[in-house]
């Protein structure tokens, strides 16, 4: 399984309140929420994002609230994978449970810049930066997490069993 796309880059401690502000949480329609994804730190994100694009950030991505609307609105916006130095634990769990691939990689989080063209191989954890001609070794998932992601989320994987 691979992902390939253009990078949207952010810093440390991107919290779930900026990923999807609570003022929009009076709906559970993820396509509607995707239109407001990241708007408090990147007003043009929803306009600029294209299907398959990749989000890259630094440490503690997704800290704060447990709102699943955060990874779900990122996924609904078309993002194919989030790379960060580390993820807040509830976000990590939620992302896997809904089938949004996420990878921890210090080097990629440092080196990759906004607009770079990046390819990710989920089976090996290798991240290739086509723009810079570099590659980085990300953490690959344990097998049971790959199953969940391949089934497009926890509930589907429970059904598949």
């Amino acid at each position: 399984m691979k992902a390939c796309g253009k990078v949207h880059k952010y810093g440390d401690n991107v919290d779930t309140d900026v990923i999807i502000p609570a003022r929009y949480l009076n709906t559970a329609n993820m396509e509607e929420l995707a239109q407001h994804c990241m708007e408090d730190i990147d007003i043009d994100f929803a306009k600029n994002v294209k299907k398959g694009d990749i989000m890259v950030a630094k440490a503690n991505f997704g800290c704060g609230s447990s709102r699943e609307h955060a990874p779900a609105s990122i996924k609904a916006s078309g993002i194919s994978c989030v790379i960060a130095k580390s993820f807040a634990r509830i976000f990590y769990r939620n992302a896997i449970n809904i089938g949004l691939p996420i990878i921890e990689c210090d080097e990629a989080a440092e080196r990759i810049e906004a607009g770079d063209e990046v390819e990710i191989d989920f089976d090996t954890g290798v991240i290739t930066n086509k723009t810079k001609g570099e590659s980085y070794q990300g953490q690959s998932f344990p097998e049971f997490l790959i199953k969940i992601i391949n089934s497009n989320g926890l509930l589907n994987s429970l059904k598949d069993q």
């Binding site: 401690n13 919290d15 309140d17 900026v18 502000p21 609570a22 003022r23 949480l25 009076n26 709906t27 559970a28 408090d40 730190i41 440490a59 503690n60 800290c63 704060g64 609230s65 447990s66 709102r67 699943e68 609307h69 990874p71 779900a72 580390s86 807040a88 634990r89 509830i90 769990r93 939620n94 449970n97 809904i98 344990p142 049971f144 989320g153 926890l154 509930l155 589907n156 429970l158 059904k159």
Partner: protein, 420 residues
């Protein structure tokens, strides 16, 4: 090798004699919680997955606290969806306007969590119940859905950081100052994926409400859970609230901790977390004059009766400063009633505060006190992220009820000694 409190509770719920940090386990759950924002997503997933029943109607609770009383039509639709689901499956602990309170104040008050329980909640501050010696952690809606259907979920067993509590808090220093101090010390990801375990001789000087406040903010240090050793204070609190038998789990003497800290309560000073992270903790020797527009006293962190008593002690026979809006939100109906009987509401209203029915409201920028561009608020809430209480150019300063009340009187960020 010995186990921590959390590891022991998880082992017992997984039917194992022993677990180790990093181990993946499947654990039985004693309680599954959701609110009016996270439950609709869980219900949608429940229906999509084709589940036809819940695991136990007495072990699921739904609390309509975030956008209630319904702030708009969409919020009303979400509550309606929860209400209909709760009715269809005859969920025992469904709380709606009139008997609802802020979930993490309400559940302990109702005796729904006891020591040794394993609890998940689709709300990040579910870690609050660690105050009672339970393993309790925030999850998302899909986990809530799976928990409602199966009564179990997967966990990665966490390692732990130990906080040895000694001493006693000085007058006007509060549990909120302790936890802000700790988050300032270890950072917003200082306990990422790990437990924060609180024990030590100083615990006897922390009331259950103090502990609930501290465990509540474990998530603000990135922790999976915060947990307090069970003692006489815990047992006394549970009396009359529950007749469930419970098991007390103690950490083994040779339990391994990643880090250990000693926190001397007698050294804790009034503390304020500056925008836009809870780790930006400062004491008053390092706080310039900052004029404020709003004060919020309430939330799952500091909306309990002892918090209201602390605020009332400062506000008695004083007035909220001109140009400051002070909003007081008792966290549950019982707290509201107690505050009324004790004359606290009268003190607040005489001082010029607005007193609201229980709601999470302004804490997450939902309703009941949203900030405009450039406005600053001192709040007893738990997060001060960009845009958390309203406009992205507004600012939230986190503090104790003492500091919040003193700031309301002073019209700027102030400590009790400035106005008393």
């Amino acid at each position: 090798m010995g186990m921590t409190m959390t590891q022991k509770i998880l082992a017992a719920h997984a039917g194992l004699d022993e677990v180790k940090a990093g181990q993946l386990i499947m654990a039985d759950l004693d309680l599954v919680l959701g609110n009016d924002v996270t439950t609709p997503v869980a219900i949608n997933e429940f229906n999509k997955a084709g589940f036809t029943d819940i695991f136990n109607k007495d072990k699921i609770t739904m609390v309509m606290d975030h956008f209630t009383p319904n702030k708009d039509i969409k919020a009303a639709q979400q509550c309606k969806q929860c209400r209909e689901f709760a009715s269809k499956y005859d969920i025992s602990h469904y709380y709606d306007v009139g008997d609802v309170g802020i979930e993490h104040a309400l559940l302990p008050e109702k005796g729904l969590v006891v020591p040794g329980d394993a609890v998940i909640g689709a709300d990040s501050h579910t870690c609050t119940y660690g105050a009672l010696g339970a393993f309790s952690t925030g999850v998302g809606s899909t986990d809530m859905c799976a928990g409602m259907a199966a009564g179990k979920t997967w966990f990665k067993v966490p390692s732990a950081i130990k906080f040895n509590i000694v001493g006693k808090l000085p007058k006007y220093s509060a549990a909120k100052d302790v936890i802000l101090h700790i988050i300032g010390m270890i950072g917003v990801d200082g306990a990422l994926y790990r437990s924060m375990e609180f024990s030590g001789e100083g615990l006897k000087n922390l009331t259950m409400e103090d502990r609930l406040c501290m465990a509540n903010m474990a998530i603000e240090a990135g922790a999976k859970n915060g947990i307090f050793a069970v003692d006489e204070v815990t047992k006394e609190y549970l009396k009359g609230r529950t007749d469930r038998e419970y098991k007390v789990f103690e950490a083994d003497a040779d339990a391994e901790y990643d880090e250990e800290y000693t926190i001397d309560l007698s050294e804790i000073k009034p503390t304020v977390a500056f925008p836009h992270l809870p780790e930006n903790a400062r004491t008053f020797d390092d706080i310039p004059e900052i004029a404020i527009d709003q004060v919020v006293i309430g939330s799952c962190t500091n909306g309990r009766i002892e918090d209201l008593r602390a605020a009332a002690e400062i506000l008695k026979d004083k007035k909220v400063a001109d140009n400051v809006r002070c909003i007081v939100i008792p966290a549950t109906q019982h707290i509201y009633m107690t505050a009324m009987k004790e004359g606290l509401l009268e003190i607040f209203i005489n001082a010029g505060c607005a007193v609201s029915t229980p709601t999470c409201g302004p804490c997450l920028g939902g309703h009941m006190g949203i900030l405009a561009a450039g406005e600053k608020a001192v709040a007893t809430t738990n997060r001060n992220f960009v845009g958390r209480m309203g406009h992205t150019e507004s600012e939230v300063y986190l503090a104790s009820p003492y500091v919040a009340a003193a700031s309301a009187v002073a019209g700027k960020i102030a400590q009790p000694s400035d106005v008393m």
